[in-house]
Amino acid sequence: MGTTFKIILLFSTMFLISCEGLFDYSPYQIDFEGENKGVNATNLDRLLKTNQSDTITIAFTGDTHNYFDELVYFVDKVNTFPNIDFVIHIGDITDFGLPKQYLWGNGYLLNLEVPYLVLIGNHDLVGNGLEAYKEMFGDLDFSFVYQDIKFVFLNTNSLEFAYNGNVPNLDWLSQQLFPSNDFSKAVVVFHMPPGIGFDPELELGFYQTLSAHNNVIMSVHGHQHHHEVYYPTADSIPFVNVYGVEHRMMTIVKIYQDKIYVENEAF
Protein backbone atom coordinates (compact mmCIF):
# COMPACT_ATOMS: atom_id res chain seq x y z
CA MET A 1 0.00 0.00 0.00
CA GLY A 2 2.88 2.35 0.76
CA THR A 3 4.06 2.75 -2.82
CA THR A 4 0.58 3.08 -4.27
CA PHE A 5 -0.28 5.64 -1.66
CA LYS A 6 2.80 7.68 -2.52
CA ILE A 7 2.06 7.53 -6.25
CA ILE A 8 -1.52 8.67 -5.67
CA LEU A 9 -0.32 11.44 -3.39
CA LEU A 10 2.21 12.55 -5.99
CA PHE A 11 -0.34 12.59 -8.81
CA SER A 12 -2.93 14.33 -6.66
CA THR A 13 -0.45 17.04 -5.78
CA MET A 14 0.55 17.52 -9.42
CA PHE A 15 -3.11 17.63 -10.39
CA LEU A 16 -3.86 20.26 -7.76
CA ILE A 17 -0.97 22.47 -8.74
CA SER A 18 -1.64 22.29 -12.49
CA CYS A 19 -5.34 22.94 -12.20
CA GLU A 20 -5.31 25.91 -9.83
CA GLY A 21 -7.89 28.35 -11.16
CA LEU A 22 -10.17 25.72 -12.62
CA PHE A 23 -11.58 24.94 -9.20
CA ASP A 24 -14.91 26.67 -9.04
CA TYR A 25 -16.82 27.06 -5.80
CA SER A 26 -20.08 28.64 -6.94
CA PRO A 27 -21.46 30.54 -9.93
CA TYR A 28 -22.10 33.35 -7.43
CA GLN A 29 -18.63 33.57 -5.94
CA ILE A 30 -17.45 37.18 -6.10
CA ASP A 31 -13.71 37.48 -5.51
CA PHE A 32 -12.64 40.24 -7.89
CA GLU A 33 -9.09 41.48 -7.60
CA GLY A 34 -6.86 44.22 -9.01
CA GLU A 35 -8.11 45.75 -12.22
CA ASN A 36 -11.52 44.12 -11.73
CA LYS A 37 -12.24 46.28 -8.67
CA GLY A 38 -13.28 49.94 -8.52
CA VAL A 39 -13.16 50.12 -12.30
CA ASN A 40 -15.25 53.29 -12.81
CA ALA A 41 -13.24 55.25 -10.22
CA THR A 42 -9.94 54.19 -11.80
CA ASN A 43 -11.12 55.19 -15.26
CA LEU A 44 -12.53 58.48 -14.04
CA ASP A 45 -9.15 59.27 -12.56
CA ARG A 46 -7.53 58.58 -15.91
CA LEU A 47 -10.14 60.59 -17.81
CA LEU A 48 -9.84 63.68 -15.67
CA LYS A 49 -6.05 63.68 -16.14
CA THR A 50 -6.23 63.62 -19.95
CA ASN A 51 -5.57 66.68 -22.09
CA GLN A 52 -8.88 68.26 -22.81
CA SER A 53 -9.86 69.90 -26.10
CA ASP A 54 -12.93 71.87 -27.17
CA THR A 55 -14.74 68.76 -28.44
CA ILE A 56 -15.81 65.78 -26.38
CA THR A 57 -16.13 62.53 -28.33
CA ILE A 58 -17.76 59.54 -26.67
CA ALA A 59 -18.18 56.06 -28.14
CA PHE A 60 -21.21 54.20 -26.81
CA THR A 61 -21.96 50.53 -26.73
CA GLY A 62 -24.11 48.40 -24.48
CA ASP A 63 -26.37 45.40 -24.03
CA THR A 64 -23.55 42.89 -24.30
CA HIS A 65 -25.69 40.06 -22.88
CA ASN A 66 -24.10 36.97 -24.42
CA TYR A 67 -22.37 38.78 -27.31
CA PHE A 68 -18.90 38.86 -25.82
CA ASP A 69 -17.12 38.32 -29.15
CA GLU A 70 -18.88 41.39 -30.51
CA LEU A 71 -17.63 43.37 -27.52
CA VAL A 72 -14.10 42.35 -28.55
CA TYR A 73 -14.72 43.70 -32.08
CA PHE A 74 -16.07 46.93 -30.61
CA VAL A 75 -12.94 47.40 -28.49
CA ASP A 76 -10.66 46.67 -31.46
CA LYS A 77 -12.48 49.24 -33.60
CA VAL A 78 -12.53 51.96 -30.94
CA ASN A 79 -8.78 51.51 -30.49
CA THR A 80 -8.31 52.52 -34.16
CA PHE A 81 -10.03 55.89 -33.66
CA PRO A 82 -7.69 58.72 -32.69
CA ASN A 83 -10.08 61.16 -31.06
CA ILE A 84 -12.30 59.26 -28.62
CA ASP A 85 -12.23 60.83 -25.15
CA PHE A 86 -13.92 57.91 -23.44
CA VAL A 87 -16.27 54.99 -23.85
CA ILE A 88 -19.57 54.44 -22.09
CA HIS A 89 -21.06 50.96 -21.79
CA ILE A 90 -24.76 51.65 -21.33
CA GLY A 91 -25.50 48.57 -19.18
CA ASP A 92 -26.25 44.86 -19.41
CA ILE A 93 -22.59 43.95 -19.61
CA THR A 94 -23.82 40.55 -18.43
CA ASP A 95 -26.73 38.37 -19.46
CA PHE A 96 -27.34 36.44 -16.23
CA GLY A 97 -25.70 38.84 -13.77
CA LEU A 98 -23.06 36.19 -13.07
CA PRO A 99 -19.71 37.25 -11.58
CA LYS A 100 -18.00 35.32 -14.37
CA GLN A 101 -19.81 37.35 -17.01
CA TYR A 102 -18.77 40.54 -15.22
CA LEU A 103 -15.19 39.31 -15.48
CA TRP A 104 -15.53 38.57 -19.19
CA GLY A 105 -17.17 41.93 -19.95
CA ASN A 106 -14.64 43.97 -18.01
CA GLY A 107 -11.79 41.75 -19.23
CA TYR A 108 -12.52 42.81 -22.80
CA LEU A 109 -13.11 46.49 -21.97
CA LEU A 110 -9.73 46.55 -20.20
CA ASN A 111 -8.18 46.33 -23.67
CA LEU A 112 -9.55 49.78 -24.52
CA GLU A 113 -6.86 52.41 -24.83
CA VAL A 114 -9.20 55.17 -23.65
CA PRO A 115 -10.97 55.33 -20.27
CA TYR A 116 -14.37 53.66 -20.03
CA LEU A 117 -17.33 53.79 -17.69
CA VAL A 118 -19.94 51.09 -17.22
CA LEU A 119 -23.57 51.68 -16.23
CA ILE A 120 -25.75 49.19 -14.40
CA GLY A 121 -28.35 47.36 -16.52
CA ASN A 122 -31.29 45.24 -15.45
CA HIS A 123 -29.63 41.94 -16.38
CA ASP A 124 -26.58 42.94 -14.33
CA LEU A 125 -28.79 42.92 -11.23
CA VAL A 126 -30.07 39.34 -11.40
CA GLY A 127 -28.82 36.99 -8.66
CA ASN A 128 -26.09 38.76 -6.68
CA GLY A 129 -25.30 41.03 -9.62
CA LEU A 130 -25.85 44.12 -7.46
CA GLU A 131 -22.95 43.07 -5.22
CA ALA A 132 -20.85 42.18 -8.24
CA TYR A 133 -21.49 45.58 -9.87
CA LYS A 134 -20.65 47.49 -6.69
CA GLU A 135 -17.48 45.48 -6.21
CA MET A 136 -16.34 45.77 -9.82
CA PHE A 137 -17.60 49.18 -10.93
CA GLY A 138 -18.75 51.10 -7.84
CA ASP A 139 -21.81 53.25 -7.14
CA LEU A 140 -24.98 52.74 -9.16
CA ASP A 141 -25.60 56.49 -9.37
CA PHE A 142 -22.59 58.73 -9.94
CA SER A 143 -21.57 61.88 -11.74
CA PHE A 144 -18.52 63.86 -12.79
CA VAL A 145 -17.72 67.06 -14.64
CA TYR A 146 -15.61 66.86 -17.78
CA GLN A 147 -14.90 69.99 -19.79
CA ASP A 148 -17.69 71.97 -18.17
CA ILE A 149 -20.26 69.23 -18.89
CA LYS A 150 -21.70 67.26 -16.02
CA PHE A 151 -22.20 63.58 -16.83
CA VAL A 152 -24.85 61.98 -14.66
CA PHE A 153 -25.05 58.18 -14.55
CA LEU A 154 -28.39 57.04 -13.20
CA ASN A 155 -29.71 53.62 -12.21
CA THR A 156 -33.16 53.44 -13.83
CA ASN A 157 -33.69 49.69 -13.45
CA SER A 158 -36.79 50.14 -11.28
CA LEU A 159 -38.24 46.66 -11.81
CA GLU A 160 -35.13 45.01 -10.35
CA PHE A 161 -35.92 46.91 -7.15
CA ALA A 162 -39.58 45.84 -7.29
CA TYR A 163 -40.75 49.38 -8.14
CA ASN A 164 -39.86 50.54 -4.64
CA GLY A 165 -40.25 54.21 -5.55
CA ASN A 166 -36.55 55.03 -5.08
CA VAL A 167 -35.27 53.87 -8.47
CA PRO A 168 -34.50 56.03 -10.31
CA ASN A 169 -33.50 58.29 -7.44
CA LEU A 170 -35.12 61.53 -8.62
CA ASP A 171 -34.02 63.53 -5.56
CA TRP A 172 -30.42 62.70 -6.29
CA LEU A 173 -30.90 63.44 -10.00
CA SER A 174 -32.48 66.78 -9.13
CA GLN A 175 -29.51 67.69 -6.90
CA GLN A 176 -27.07 66.73 -9.61
CA LEU A 177 -28.79 68.90 -12.20
CA PHE A 178 -29.18 71.89 -9.90
CA PRO A 179 -27.13 74.65 -11.54
CA SER A 180 -23.76 75.34 -10.00
CA ASN A 181 -20.48 76.99 -10.93
CA ASP A 182 -18.66 73.80 -11.84
CA PHE A 183 -20.71 72.93 -14.90
CA SER A 184 -22.79 74.64 -17.56
CA LYS A 185 -24.65 71.77 -19.22
CA ALA A 186 -25.45 68.19 -18.34
CA VAL A 187 -25.69 64.80 -20.04
CA VAL A 188 -27.78 62.11 -18.33
CA VAL A 189 -27.09 58.45 -19.13
CA PHE A 190 -29.07 55.46 -17.96
CA HIS A 191 -29.77 51.93 -19.08
CA MET A 192 -33.51 51.62 -19.10
CA PRO A 193 -35.78 54.28 -20.65
CA PRO A 194 -39.36 54.83 -19.47
CA GLY A 195 -41.47 51.82 -20.48
CA ILE A 196 -41.71 48.28 -19.10
CA GLY A 197 -39.17 47.97 -16.29
CA PHE A 198 -39.10 51.70 -15.49
CA ASP A 199 -41.29 52.70 -12.53
CA PRO A 200 -44.45 54.15 -14.15
CA GLU A 201 -45.06 56.27 -11.03
CA LEU A 202 -41.76 58.05 -11.57
CA GLU A 203 -41.96 58.56 -15.32
CA LEU A 204 -43.51 62.03 -15.29
CA GLY A 205 -41.24 63.18 -12.44
CA PHE A 206 -38.26 61.87 -14.36
CA TYR A 207 -39.04 63.95 -17.44
CA GLN A 208 -39.81 66.99 -15.29
CA THR A 209 -36.54 66.63 -13.38
CA LEU A 210 -34.57 66.43 -16.64
CA SER A 211 -36.25 69.58 -17.90
CA ALA A 212 -36.25 71.54 -14.63
CA HIS A 213 -33.22 73.74 -15.28
CA ASN A 214 -33.05 73.70 -19.04
CA ASN A 215 -29.45 72.47 -18.84
CA VAL A 216 -29.65 68.86 -20.06
CA ILE A 217 -28.34 68.75 -23.62
CA MET A 218 -28.79 65.00 -24.11
CA SER A 219 -29.99 61.77 -22.51
CA VAL A 220 -28.52 58.46 -23.63
CA HIS A 221 -29.88 55.02 -22.89
CA GLY A 222 -29.78 51.41 -24.04
CA HIS A 223 -31.93 48.37 -23.23
CA GLN A 224 -33.85 48.40 -26.52
CA HIS A 225 -30.84 47.41 -28.66
CA HIS A 226 -31.78 49.64 -31.61
CA HIS A 227 -30.71 53.15 -32.48
CA GLU A 228 -32.84 56.25 -32.72
CA VAL A 229 -32.86 59.85 -31.57
CA TYR A 230 -36.18 61.08 -30.21
CA TYR A 231 -37.54 63.92 -28.10
CA PRO A 232 -39.96 62.79 -25.37
CA THR A 233 -39.72 65.77 -22.99
CA ALA A 234 -41.67 69.01 -23.22
CA ASP A 235 -38.48 70.96 -23.92
CA SER A 236 -37.29 68.43 -26.54
CA ILE A 237 -34.18 67.02 -24.88
CA PRO A 238 -32.69 64.60 -27.43
CA PHE A 239 -32.83 61.00 -26.23
CA VAL A 240 -30.19 58.89 -27.93
CA ASN A 241 -30.94 55.17 -27.98
CA VAL A 242 -27.73 53.16 -28.32
CA TYR A 243 -27.30 50.04 -30.45
CA GLY A 244 -26.90 46.68 -28.75
CA VAL A 245 -23.39 45.39 -29.42
CA GLU A 246 -24.74 42.45 -31.48
CA HIS A 247 -25.63 44.85 -34.32
CA ARG A 248 -21.93 45.58 -34.63
CA MET A 249 -22.79 49.27 -34.77
CA MET A 250 -21.66 51.86 -32.26
CA THR A 251 -23.03 55.29 -31.57
CA ILE A 252 -20.52 58.10 -31.39
CA VAL A 253 -21.56 61.41 -29.90
CA LYS A 254 -19.54 64.59 -30.29
CA ILE A 255 -20.24 67.50 -28.01
CA TYR A 256 -19.01 70.86 -29.28
CA GLN A 257 -20.08 74.21 -27.85
CA ASP A 258 -22.96 72.55 -25.97
CA LYS A 259 -24.36 71.00 -29.15
CA ILE A 260 -24.46 67.31 -29.85
CA TYR A 261 -23.61 65.49 -33.09
CA VAL A 262 -24.63 61.85 -33.31
CA GLU A 263 -23.15 59.39 -35.79
CA ASN A 264 -22.96 55.62 -36.07
CA GLU A 265 -20.00 53.45 -36.99
CA ALA A 266 -19.99 49.82 -38.04
CA PHE A 267 -17.39 47.53 -36.50
Partner: protein, 202 residues
Protein backbone atom coordinates in the same frame (compact mmCIF):
# COMPACT_ATOMS: atom_id res chain seq x y z
CA UNK B 1 -0.83 32.02 1.39
CA UNK B 2 -4.62 32.07 1.60
CA UNK B 3 -4.88 29.15 -0.78
CA UNK B 4 -2.70 26.99 1.43
CA UNK B 5 -5.04 27.78 4.27
CA UNK B 6 -7.98 26.42 2.25
CA UNK B 7 -6.26 23.14 1.69
CA UNK B 8 -5.36 22.79 5.33
CA UNK B 9 -9.03 23.30 6.23
CA UNK B 10 -9.91 20.59 3.81
CA UNK B 11 -7.47 18.13 5.28
CA UNK B 12 -8.59 18.98 8.79
CA UNK B 13 -12.18 18.19 7.88
CA UNK B 14 -11.07 15.01 6.22
CA UNK B 15 -9.31 13.89 9.37
CA UNK B 16 -12.38 14.68 11.45
CA UNK B 17 -14.54 12.64 9.11
CA UNK B 18 -12.26 9.63 9.36
CA UNK B 19 -12.03 10.04 13.12
CA UNK B 20 -15.81 10.12 13.52
CA UNK B 21 -16.09 7.06 11.38
CA UNK B 22 -13.57 5.23 13.55
CA UNK B 23 -15.24 6.05 16.82
CA UNK B 24 -18.57 4.74 15.57
CA UNK B 25 -17.13 1.35 14.81
CA UNK B 26 -19.79 -1.19 15.65
CA UNK B 27 -20.71 -4.35 13.87
CA UNK B 28 -24.34 -5.10 14.56
CA UNK B 29 -26.81 -5.40 11.69
CA UNK B 30 -30.02 -3.46 12.26
CA UNK B 31 -33.47 -3.75 10.79
CA UNK B 32 -33.30 -0.35 9.17
CA UNK B 33 -29.72 -0.50 7.96
CA UNK B 34 -30.94 -0.32 4.36
CA UNK B 35 -31.95 3.26 5.11
CA UNK B 36 -28.37 4.22 5.79
CA UNK B 37 -26.66 5.96 2.92
CA UNK B 38 -24.35 3.76 0.89
CA UNK B 39 -21.64 6.36 1.10
CA UNK B 40 -20.73 9.77 2.41
CA UNK B 41 -18.64 12.21 0.43
CA UNK B 42 -16.62 15.29 1.05
CA UNK B 43 -15.92 17.36 -2.02
CA UNK B 44 -13.70 20.33 -2.74
CA UNK B 45 -14.92 22.81 -5.42
CA UNK B 46 -16.76 21.42 -8.47
CA UNK B 47 -19.03 24.49 -8.59
CA UNK B 48 -21.29 23.37 -5.74
CA UNK B 49 -19.40 24.81 -2.78
CA UNK B 50 -15.92 25.43 -1.48
CA UNK B 51 -16.53 22.31 0.55
CA UNK B 52 -19.56 20.10 0.10
CA UNK B 53 -20.70 17.22 2.26
CA UNK B 54 -22.78 14.59 0.54
CA UNK B 55 -24.72 11.42 1.26
CA UNK B 56 -25.99 9.04 -1.35
CA UNK B 57 -27.29 5.74 -2.50
CA UNK B 58 -26.14 3.47 -5.23
CA UNK B 59 -28.40 1.52 -7.58
CA UNK B 60 -28.24 -0.97 -10.45
CA UNK B 61 -25.23 -3.01 -9.26
CA UNK B 62 -23.39 0.14 -8.19
CA UNK B 63 -23.65 1.63 -11.65
CA UNK B 64 -25.91 4.56 -10.81
CA UNK B 65 -25.35 6.92 -7.88
CA UNK B 66 -27.70 9.54 -6.49
CA UNK B 67 -26.01 12.00 -4.14
CA UNK B 68 -27.33 14.91 -2.15
CA UNK B 69 -24.79 17.60 -1.26
CA UNK B 70 -24.79 20.57 1.01
CA UNK B 71 -22.14 23.02 -0.08
CA UNK B 72 -20.69 26.07 1.59
CA UNK B 73 -18.50 28.94 0.45
CA UNK B 74 -17.24 30.90 3.45
CA UNK B 75 -17.00 34.66 3.53
CA UNK B 76 -13.44 35.61 2.71
CA UNK B 77 -13.30 33.30 -0.26
CA UNK B 78 -16.30 35.14 -1.69
CA UNK B 79 -17.45 38.59 -0.51
CA UNK B 80 -20.54 36.96 0.99
CA UNK B 81 -20.83 33.39 2.20
CA UNK B 82 -22.94 31.09 0.04
CA UNK B 83 -24.99 28.05 1.00
CA UNK B 84 -26.38 25.68 -1.53
CA UNK B 85 -27.68 22.18 -2.04
CA UNK B 86 -27.33 19.99 -5.05
CA UNK B 87 -28.61 16.69 -6.23
CA UNK B 88 -26.54 14.70 -8.63
CA UNK B 89 -26.88 11.49 -10.58
CA UNK B 90 -23.83 9.63 -11.78
CA UNK B 91 -23.60 6.76 -14.23
CA UNK B 92 -20.44 4.72 -13.71
CA UNK B 93 -19.86 3.21 -17.11
CA UNK B 94 -16.54 1.38 -16.77
CA UNK B 95 -15.14 -0.53 -13.81
CA UNK B 96 -11.60 -1.83 -13.93
CA UNK B 97 -10.35 -4.15 -11.18
CA UNK B 98 -6.73 -3.27 -10.64
CA UNK B 99 -6.04 -5.62 -7.75
CA UNK B 100 -7.61 -7.07 -4.65
CA UNK B 101 -7.68 -3.65 -3.07
CA UNK B 102 -8.10 -1.23 -5.96
CA UNK B 103 -10.82 -0.54 -8.52
CA UNK B 104 -10.66 2.19 -11.12
CA UNK B 105 -13.83 3.80 -12.48
CA UNK B 106 -12.43 5.99 -15.23
CA UNK B 107 -15.62 7.13 -16.94
CA UNK B 108 -18.39 8.45 -14.73
CA UNK B 109 -20.97 10.70 -16.33
CA UNK B 110 -23.04 12.96 -14.17
CA UNK B 111 -25.87 15.43 -14.17
CA UNK B 112 -26.61 17.79 -11.31
CA UNK B 113 -29.07 20.39 -10.25
CA UNK B 114 -27.85 23.09 -7.90
CA UNK B 115 -29.84 25.46 -5.73
CA UNK B 116 -28.23 28.42 -3.99
CA UNK B 117 -30.05 29.76 -0.92
CA UNK B 118 -31.08 33.39 -0.67
CA UNK B 119 -33.96 35.54 -1.91
CA UNK B 120 -31.86 36.94 -4.77
CA UNK B 121 -31.39 33.40 -6.07
CA UNK B 122 -35.03 32.87 -6.92
CA UNK B 123 -36.33 29.77 -8.60
CA UNK B 124 -39.73 31.10 -9.60
CA UNK B 125 -39.75 34.54 -11.23
CA UNK B 126 -40.86 36.97 -8.47
CA UNK B 127 -44.38 38.26 -8.93
CA UNK B 128 -43.38 41.86 -9.64
CA UNK B 129 -41.95 40.82 -13.01
CA UNK B 130 -44.09 40.47 -16.13
CA UNK B 131 -44.44 36.78 -17.12
CA UNK B 132 -41.31 35.27 -18.73
CA UNK B 133 -39.30 38.44 -18.19
CA UNK B 134 -36.21 36.28 -17.57
CA UNK B 135 -36.03 32.78 -18.97
CA UNK B 136 -33.62 31.28 -16.44
CA UNK B 137 -33.58 30.97 -12.64
CA UNK B 138 -30.55 32.28 -10.77
CA UNK B 139 -31.45 29.95 -7.91
CA UNK B 140 -31.55 26.71 -9.81
CA UNK B 141 -28.96 25.72 -12.37
CA UNK B 142 -28.30 22.36 -13.91
CA UNK B 143 -24.97 21.09 -15.09
CA UNK B 144 -23.05 18.07 -16.29
CA UNK B 145 -19.72 16.53 -15.47
CA UNK B 146 -17.44 13.65 -16.26
CA UNK B 147 -15.20 12.14 -13.68
CA UNK B 148 -13.09 9.29 -12.47
CA UNK B 149 -12.83 7.45 -9.20
CA UNK B 150 -10.33 5.20 -7.53
CA UNK B 151 -11.94 2.86 -5.00
CA UNK B 152 -9.64 1.38 -2.41
CA UNK B 153 -9.94 -0.80 0.65
CA UNK B 154 -7.93 1.54 2.80
CA UNK B 155 -9.40 1.63 6.30
CA UNK B 156 -11.63 -1.32 5.44
CA UNK B 157 -10.25 -3.44 8.26
CA UNK B 158 -10.05 -0.66 10.79
CA UNK B 159 -13.49 0.88 10.33
CA UNK B 160 -17.00 -0.25 9.41
CA UNK B 161 -16.45 1.36 6.02
CA UNK B 162 -15.97 -1.15 3.23
CA UNK B 163 -13.61 1.18 1.50
CA UNK B 164 -12.56 4.67 0.74
CA UNK B 165 -12.42 6.30 -2.68
CA UNK B 166 -10.94 9.40 -4.16
CA UNK B 167 -12.50 11.00 -7.16
CA UNK B 168 -12.17 14.00 -9.44
CA UNK B 169 -14.69 15.55 -11.77
CA UNK B 170 -14.69 18.15 -14.49
CA UNK B 171 -17.94 19.81 -15.40
CA UNK B 172 -19.83 22.88 -16.43
CA UNK B 173 -23.35 24.20 -16.07
CA UNK B 174 -26.10 25.31 -18.43
CA UNK B 175 -25.64 29.03 -17.82
CA UNK B 176 -21.92 28.77 -18.61
CA UNK B 177 -22.59 26.76 -21.75
CA UNK B 178 -25.19 29.34 -22.83
CA UNK B 179 -22.53 32.03 -22.33
CA UNK B 180 -19.90 30.14 -24.28
CA UNK B 181 -22.06 29.46 -27.36
CA UNK B 182 -21.07 31.90 -30.12
CA UNK B 183 -18.18 33.33 -28.10
CA UNK B 184 -14.85 31.95 -29.22
CA UNK B 185 -13.23 34.72 -27.14
CA UNK B 186 -14.25 32.96 -23.92
CA UNK B 187 -11.63 30.35 -23.01
CA UNK B 188 -13.06 26.90 -22.36
CA UNK B 189 -11.16 26.83 -19.07
CA UNK B 190 -13.37 29.72 -17.89
CA UNK B 191 -16.50 27.60 -17.95
CA UNK B 192 -14.93 24.54 -16.34
CA UNK B 193 -15.82 23.56 -12.81
CA UNK B 194 -13.18 21.21 -11.52
CA UNK B 195 -13.54 19.40 -8.23
CA UNK B 196 -12.30 16.44 -6.30
CA UNK B 197 -13.34 14.59 -3.24
CA UNK B 198 -13.27 11.57 -1.07
CA UNK B 199 -15.98 8.99 -0.49
CA UNK B 200 -16.42 6.53 2.35
CA UNK B 201 -18.43 3.48 1.35
CA UNK B 202 -20.57 1.53 3.81
Amino acid sequence: MWKMRHFSHWFLLLCILIFINNTQAQSHVGKYDWLLPDYVKLQYAGGIGFLSAGVGYTFVHQRIDATFFYGYVPKGIAIDDLSSVSLQFTAKLIRIRLSENYQLLPLNFGWFIHHTFGSEYWIKLPSHYPPEYYWWSPGRNAGIFVGGELKTKWLAHKTPASGIAIYARIGTRGLYLASKVGNSSIPITDIIELGFGIALYR
